[in-house]
Symmetry: C2
Subunit: 90 residues, 2 copies
């Protein structure tokens, strides 16, 4: 039972940190503003998130797998939007 | 021994995702550019990171504690810089 409470804290953490990324992804999608973060940094983050996902699977923790699966998808979308936007403005 | 390998993957993940935040914090510190991310979102992230830290302590995982301690400090600095920069421009 105690494990469920702990995993619940992880899920709350996952929802908070992941949802904070959604408006950023949307802003980049709209292309109206630059987020000032370089593409290189998004690639570094992407590899980092992939490592977190592997780590979460290896220690079998739902909250970590959940957070990093969603973040991985968001990061791929952000990179795609940034590349697409860059190509349009060039 | 296998646990050390798993924790090693977590530490690599921690280094990658955390180091990706440093240039963003530095850019906001310099105040030259906006990062396009709202203060509200940084507060949401901050609470999320605090939850991750509690989660990491509860499941006793070094990589999670390491990543979220560093990120927590960076997020507090970013919020401080953003507030400071906003006050200067007002």
């Amino acid at each position: 039972m105690f494990d469920y409470y702990i995993e619940g804290i992880g899920v709350i953490a996952a929802i908070l940190t992941t949802s904070a990324f959604v408006p950023q992804a949307y802003k980049i999608y709209k292309g109206g503003i630059s987020d000032g973060v370089s593409l290189t940094m998004y690639f570094v983050m992407l590899i980092g998130v992939a490592f977190w996902l592997v780590y979460g699977i290896l220690i079998n923790k739902f909250a970590i797998i959940l957070a990093n699966t969603v973040t991985l998808v968001l990061q791929i979308l952000i990179i795609y939007f940034k590349l697409n936007h860059r190509n349009k403005t060039e």
